[in-house]
Symmetry: D2
Subunit: 333 residues, 4 copies
């Protein structure tokens, strides 16, 4: 339809091609006119599947008048340059997390966005998970009263390839970043101090690469709430994703999903299905909800639900967490 | 204390000795002054454990002025004679179910109780289970609106000895009787028609004794509600006790308990504890609540929560159910 | 891709347009080349959304060489004629339930399919629900031992328009048909006798139309298992879809889903999300799984998972159920 | 019976009178011959209820030959003197937690016990909760593999009177002490470092008394496992008691109980019962199990399940936690 928001996808790797599918076939009011990838066969495959165009360069995308917005899903080190160029071209911007591993670079990107006055949304999809969002809603509605403690459990089924670990910016920037955002989202309060413990319990190669694979983090928020985070790169039972907010009137807990809801009871007890294996099995509805809100915000000219500042804050917390783990002391922000 | 209700226990078999313990040590405002059993060593064992008296005969119990009430926990065929004698002695009466397998005998007992004007409560303990009671409360409070359908699942872990099966009056009088009562309790409506299917799937010896071990019953209530009951003498996973009431505004479901609430999740899925093995593991709190309400009713002179009529009705339903299963047709009551 | 199975959609009403979307965008190895509807604007809308063709007639669809299979999603009274024509055209056939309200017509359709030797699959999507399928798998794997009793709860959130009720063939053919199929699926055994109770508790207009809106059904299977079914056209709490199979070694229960898995606990107790509102919220994954299995079966030449006989049996049970409810007696099949 | 272990109760306040009841009426193989309290009417009330003796002094209890063991349930500051006297009298000892707020005093008591060679068990009842014990069993059985992270949530429904807060030794010695023990129990590993955050969110009077009412603690164990603990003196939804152990093969979670297991579903969602209000509602079975194991250990001459060292360790951790919270730095042990 003529009212569709036209969102070009930059980068058609695992996450970019997923976004292309979700925007084009499952987001009402949005289409993908064109995709680009530095590896042309990747873009071609996505384009063929959806019956859409490919572009020869990012610049060619920015030059198209039938592109209203771009989704930056390329490798992290290219995000800011693309963000600046997109902003200068007047396109609305969706950018995957992290914006950059370098806070100064983040600030350069955000400045360009601010100067151009274009909408920007950062890809913290978990905010749009119906369960996690219900925790936030319970806080906003006052159902749990004044917040006191938050606990977040977030574990991946398996660590990424060691090659990825080496360029990811470390577990705090790559994995815990989602939980830092969740802590800010649920509490509605910035983080003022971090204490973190890191260890290597999954794969010694991760330690040799200078990273941790298992971390426990204690955040102190500006409003006095204390958040604890349990992270691990490997959970044999699947993708563990839970958020709990405790306050003066109650507690709201976003529990894990299950692959199905059949229970078999025998003399040995009850047996149920595993939790979803990883983010594709768990979070597709959250990605769709994220796109719906991006499309709505851009079309209506209202603020996007995850701002540039929301993209910047977790990077600062992550750096402090890393310092805390290395020096075994709380680090103020 | 001088205000304690003094309840003598007649019959100290499995259920009677349990009642003696619960009344004497776990029911505030009640004590057991004396117990009697036709097998004196049985009474002696219970008496020694509790530091109380034994009596040489039921008559000796009725003659004691320090006995305010009696609990009839003897074999079913002796219930009515004891009920009549207790009524004539002016004692308040608690009687285990079934009152008798012979409805005419039941009527003789109830007439004596009415003539004497003594309180009578029948031992349908499941009404006092907190979960099942919450279903009834949801109905009374209007939370589920106008009732439409009820489903009761009731399965024992193992069949009783075949010797017991032969004298129990059959599965409908011995086991389903609790569910007939539950159906009347939850709906607050009498049963006007029964359709029942019976089969032998557990032990052929039960069939040879003229009984079923697996029955499915459909009850039609006076108010139009339809109740279905699933019964089996054997459930490998434990004592299955569930009640569900569906109405115009919602559904209330009393789910099974578990031996504990720890869940272990591995790559094979989630694993939890079994349901409680049998009635001692599941229903002790309901027996205690039953005694508390009996004591309160007798002391305050208010009606007991399970009347003689409540004890009679399931026996009539049970006879109709047996006829229905044998003739494969609905039987009106 | 050249290997894609090309499935034309006949009928683009609510269910047909959903199938068009699911096949074309979410079923790997399948595409929809063309859609047809007796109401051309309906077909045009679906075609535009997916960027595909419309056809002027069903005949035009059958004539296309780029159509490997057809999905019959038109009104029930047209199913058999289309099935016969599709079979004669050599197309693989997917047909929505019920095949027809007239068993003789069903037989005419199935005879044509058999004569042509084309694959046929009936749209009993609930077999492909991961939870219900896990119950069947537990039975097949022996986890619950020899089956004894099955209980199915199936309630819609709201009744359909009274105009639909009048042509639907009645609740047994329109709604319980899914549960008859589920009973056959879970037990793996045909139904030999039916006893049904029907009432009007939701809307008197349904009764005036000669139908029930609330039914309770007891099925006896050839292998002795007894299935009970609770149906209602209206459930205030959402789309209630549960299946339980009890056997000598255990019980497998497919529980309801929830809109999310956040629980809020306050002094008033715990509060969780509603169950999914209706079939679109609950069963989309089952429709996708259904299409995947259809595509796999047609491509590989293996039997389809839901045969013509599976489509016929529930209609016979439904007629017997209606007779049983009207005459208040068990009806043999 | 002559084989009964005869356990005198010293101190008949809330916890002591509960122990008297549980030992005398619900612990097979044990009786309470005599009770003592510095406030004679308190002892008299318990003695009258159970039909047993009172003693005029603790010394009189120690002098009785019909006393095999004593349960020290008096105020904390009297524990060690009684422990020393009981040990010198050759009695087996059960001592409530904390042994003392002064570690030197603890050591004096433990030395006397060691010198006398009498059995000693400390009252960490939560180890005997079936759910928490199942977490430990999952760890011991290897079901969750090598432990990595533990999370304990422990919240009281309401704070104790401010008068108690002032003498309790502070939240770490009074409340978190149970969780320190649980962390040692579940991991099977000593604590080597503590980091704690404390705040006052419930009642300013607690802060004025020099204590916290809300604390979050991060423990590092000798084996590298990290435990986090969430504590609060007030939880509007009841007594929150959960333990979770995560390892290389899975995760074991001891969830909260509920007052019953009935769920009511309406258009507003699902509604369930509150969690148990406090320890009497939740932990009675754990106290009974504790007594059974004490009786078994003393009779059989095997080690008790909670040793003097287990009673001492949490006091050391508690002191370090307090220091950590005050100085905002990790404190090594």
């Amino acid at each position: 339809m003529t009212d569709d928001l036209r969102i070009a996808i930059l980068g058609t790797g695992r996450i970019g091609s997923m976004h292309a599918d979700l925007v084009h076939t499952r987001t009402e009011g949005a289409v993908v006119p064109v995709v680009f990838d530095v590896h042309p066969p990747s873009a071609a495959e996505t384009a063929a599947r959806l019956g859409i165009d490919t572009a020869d360069s990012a610049e060619a995308v920015f030059a198209r008048s039938d592109v209203d917005a771009v989704a930056i899903c390329t490798s992290t080190d290219t995000h800011v340059d693309l963000m600046v160029a997109a902003a200068e071209a007047g396109k609305a911007i969706f950018c995957e997390k992290p914006i950059s591993l370098d806070v100064a670079e983040v600030d350069r990107g955000l400045a360009a966005v601010a100067a151009a006055g274009v909408p920007l949304q950062i890809g913290f999809n978990r905010r749009f998970d119906a369960g996690h969002a219900a925790v936030r809603e319970a806080v906003l509605a006052g159902s749990v009263g004044d917040l006191r403690q938050v606990h977040i459990t977030s574990r991946d089924p398996e660590p990424p390839p060691i090659s990825y670990v080496k360029v990811s910016g470390g577990i705090f920037n790559d994995m815990t970043i989602h939980d830092f955002d969740m802590a800010r989202f649920v509490t509605g309060s910035d983080v003022v101090e971090v204490y973190a413990k890191g260890s290597v319990t999954v794969d010694p190669a991760i330690g040799e690469a200078g990273d941790y694979d298992t971390v426990t983090v204690l955040l102190t928020h500006a409003n006095g709430v204390v958040t604890t985070i349990d992270n691990c790169r490997q959970a044999a039972y699947g993708y563990d994703q839970r958020v709990e907010a405790f306050g003066s009137q109650g507690v709201a807990t976003s529990e894990n999903h299950a692959n199905h809801h059949t229970v078999v009871r025998t003399s040995a007890g009850s047996h149920g299905a595993p939790v979803p294996h990883f983010f594709l099995e768990r979070y597709i509805p959250s990605y769709i909800a994220q796109w719906r809100q991006f499309v709505d915000a851009v079309k209506s000219g209202t603020p996007t639900p995850v701002t540039g500042a929301d993209g910047r804050a977790p990077l600062v917390i992550g750096a402090a967490a890393r310092q805390s783990a290395q020096e075994n002391r709380p680090v103020a922000i």
